[in-house]
């Protein structure tokens, strides 16, 4: 029989002791996260005729457009070290893990609706489950990339084995930002719109669809997302990360952001049912 205690500022009073509790609760909700993920996943694809094929169609269209623009001389990308469609696809896959992740994460609490104000369950599970959707799409695109390796007769370097590891900081950053954004969006609904516009804008400021060019490197030095996108791609093309220091800094930042946001979420989540 566990004892429960509810009082004002409960979690703030706990101080550091809150961390083991947070981890325990997350571990305890892994089944719930899985169930919510399966629920949204199967519901999403039940309503369409083509099912998860839609996940693949979008990148195809984007790449096709860029190939066309490149060939037509309108867009001059320059050498990327691999067939351009592959280059763009890898970049997009990693970027969209982030973009779709924080966009759906931001909305995850609000879409749950009345469930939040009537049932007591760990709210983190909603955010984690929505990020899981983005992870799923990433995996589908990764499979597509492998298929394209054969189509374009491109042989990746051995660094490809480390590709999944190199994507982890991006995933962790996505989770962290999703947690804090879902919180703020619960109170201020504009947040979702701001995030949508921001991610669209950021995609052009990050070397997703074009390579890092050495003369404009100041811009990329300032963008913490840049190394998170280029490093996994570099591993596939060159077998090594071109700017390991930048990647390291971005990774550390990502983990820091995640832990801070997770803690804030945990402390503030009791306020959510009141305000949503």
């Amino acid at each position: 029989m566990e004892d429960i205690l509810y009082e004002p500022n409960k979690y703030l009073k706990m101080g550091v002791a809150i961390w083991p509790r947070m981890f325990r609760e997350l571990a305890g909700s892994r089944e719930l996260i899985w169930r919510l993920f399966i629920r949204d996943w199967s519901a999403r694809y039940k309503q369409t005729a083509l099912g998860y094929i839609w996940t693949i169609v979008m990148p195809f269209i984007a790449i096709g457009t860029f190939m066309f623009l490149n060939r037509a001389g309108i867009l001059n990308i320059g050498p990327t070290g691999m067939p351009y469609p592959l280059f763009a696809l890898i970049g997009l896959a990693v970027w969209q893990l982030f973009a779709t992740g924080i966009n759906s994460g931001c909305n995850s609490i609000v879409t749950a609706g009345s469930m939040i104000s009537k049932i007591n369950f760990p709210l983190e599970a909603l955010v984690f489950a929505s990020t899981a959707q983005a992870v799923f799409e990433f995996l589908v695109k990764s499979a597509l990339i492998i298929v394209f390796f054969f189509v374009f007769r491109f042989v990746p370097s051995w660094g490809i084995i480390l590709f999944p590891l190199a994507v982890i900081p991006m995933l962790v950053l996505t989770l962290g930002l999703s947690l804090i954004l879902s919180l703020i969006n619960g109170v201020l609904r504009d947040t979702a719109n701001i995030v949508t516009i921001l991610t669209m804008f950021l995609m052009f400021l990050t070397p997703v669809l074009y390579p890092v060019s050495t003369d404009k490197s100041i811009l990329f030095k300032l963008n913490p997302l840049a190394p998170l996108v280029t490093a996994p791609r570099d591993l596939i093309v060159h077998g090594r990360i071109n700017d390991p220091v930048d990647f390291f800094i971005s990774s550390v930042l990502s983990f820091l952001v995640f832990f801070i946001c997770w803690r804030v979420f945990y402390i503030a989540k009791t306020k959510i049912p009141e305000r949503v």
């Binding site: 509810y6 089944e31 719930l32 169930r35 199967s42 039940k46 703020i184």
Partner: protein, 400 residues
């Protein structure tokens, strides 16, 4: 502390009145939490009000508490605090055991998924592991009684099936503390019986229960103690019949206030009931042998009203013992008095309620207004009491 299931000490919850403040204070609170600042929650900021203000109670294992009160009195908020959805802004709540709630059935149901799939989703949200759900799966399906629809998408379910399935899952979560809020309003009579039986089973096995309802019958039959809330404060704490009576008085007080302010919601209002003894004095106590003289004063706002006056004797829980109608008559506009005389009270000693009211006809399809007073019956030697039954009479026995 070992046997205490729930201990709520002077709990309170405040809310913002305007949406603007909801957003503003929401952001302020989140920012405060980021910087580790402890909010002074027991003060009211601008445009905030106390929805629950200083409610205390203590329940031991297996006890059953009812919470009643007018809309907006804070009943559901208290329940949400017990459920861990809202944190109290003042006071504290200590509970031991697993908490389960029959508050929103079918939480997390997705219309596109089948009943079977939704059982797992809802079960997970309620905190059940997959193994637990697997074990209880057949029992859940049996309770829900949805037949072949189990493998159909939930969007094709009728509202009754939806509730039955949701309830079936919730009822299998086997909590130590059960919180129930008005959900039994949906569903047919047969299912209602199933649910109340199941709740009875759980409470007899030691589950502590807190029930919020407007249904006085339910409160009366299920709860040992009741709290009456009004405007966030505890007005009365005690036996169900006492609190229910107090609640009706609250209602009447509200109506009287409205009538005094000229905002009468009813065109006909009973303004007073009196019982007089044989000397003509007003009394609250009679004996079985005497006649019952009832007079009721009323105020009628409109012209050309026709109705039947009635008096009704009930037990304190409202179980009707005897009703007498005057028959349909014209009622005059303005103030009036109606008297009724029952030849002999003939009731066993004890506490009763006497209602006086007006309805459209003897069939009581529509009751215009009715008020109650307490009536005590004092037993006398010539009319011996029996423990079995409500009525006494002088009986002539003959042995041949």
């Amino acid at each position: 502390m070992a046997n205490v299931s729930i201990n709520a000490e002077s709990i309170g919850k405040k809310f913002s009145k305007s949406l603007k403040h909801v957003m503003l204070y929401g952001l302020q609170d989140i920012a405060g939490n980021i910087f580790g600042k402890r909010a002074k929650t027991d003060l009211l900021r601008e445009n905030e009000f106390w929805a629950v203000d200083g409610v205390s109670f203590k329940l031991e294992k297996g006890e059953r508490l009812g919470i009643i009160g007018p809309n907006g009195s804070g009943k559901t908020t208290v329940l949400k605090m017990l459920n861990g959805i809202f944190m109290p802004d003042k006071g504290r709540i200590a509970m031991s055991g697993r908490v389960g709630a029959l508050i929103q059935v079918g939480a997390g149901f997705h219309p596109m998924l089948t009943g079977r799939e939704n059982i797992y989703v809802n079960g997970a949200i309620l905190g059940m592991r997959k193994k637990e759900i697997d074990k209880k799966f057949d029992s859940i399906v049996d309770f829900a009684d949805i037949g072949d629809f189990l493998d159909s998408p939930v969007r094709h379910y009728s509202s009754g099936m939806y509730v039955r399935l949701g309830f079936a899952i919730a009822v299998h979560s086997q909590p130590d503390i059960l919180l129930v809020d008005e959900i039994l309003a949906v569903g047919d009579a047969q299912f209602y019986k199933k649910c109340t039986n199941r709740i009875d089973e759980m409470t007899s096995q030691g589950t502590t229960m807190v029930l919020v309802s407007h249904n006085m019958w339910l409160i009366q039959s299920m709860c040992q103690e009741v709290i009456l809330l009004n405007k966030g404060k505890v007005v009365k704490f005690g036996r169900p019949s006492e609190c229910i009576y107090e609640y009706s008085k609250l209602d009447e007080a509200e109506e009287a206030k409205k009538a005094a302010e000229g905002k009468e919601s009813k065109f006909l209002v009973i303004t007073g009931i009196e019982v007089r003894d044989s000397g003509g004095e007003v009394t609250g106590e009679v004996d079985p042998a005497s006649p019952l003289n009832v007079s009721a004063r009323y105020h009628c706002r409109d012209d050309k009203v026709r109705g039947s006056f009635f008096i009704r004797l009930t037990t304190p829980d409202g179980y009707p013992l005897y009703t007498a109608h005057s028959g349909v008559n014209d009622l005059l506009k303005g103030e009036g008095t109606v008297t009724a005389r029952i030849l002999s009270v003939s009731l066993v000693g004890g506490e009763y309620r006497l209602w006086a009211g007006v309805s459209d006809t003897e069939k009581e399809t529509s009751i215009y207004d009715a008020k109650q007073i307490k009536l005590d019956v004092r037993p006398i030697a010539s009319y011996p009491d029996s423990k079995r039954g409500f009525f006494v009479n002088k009986v002539d026995w003959n042995f041949e």
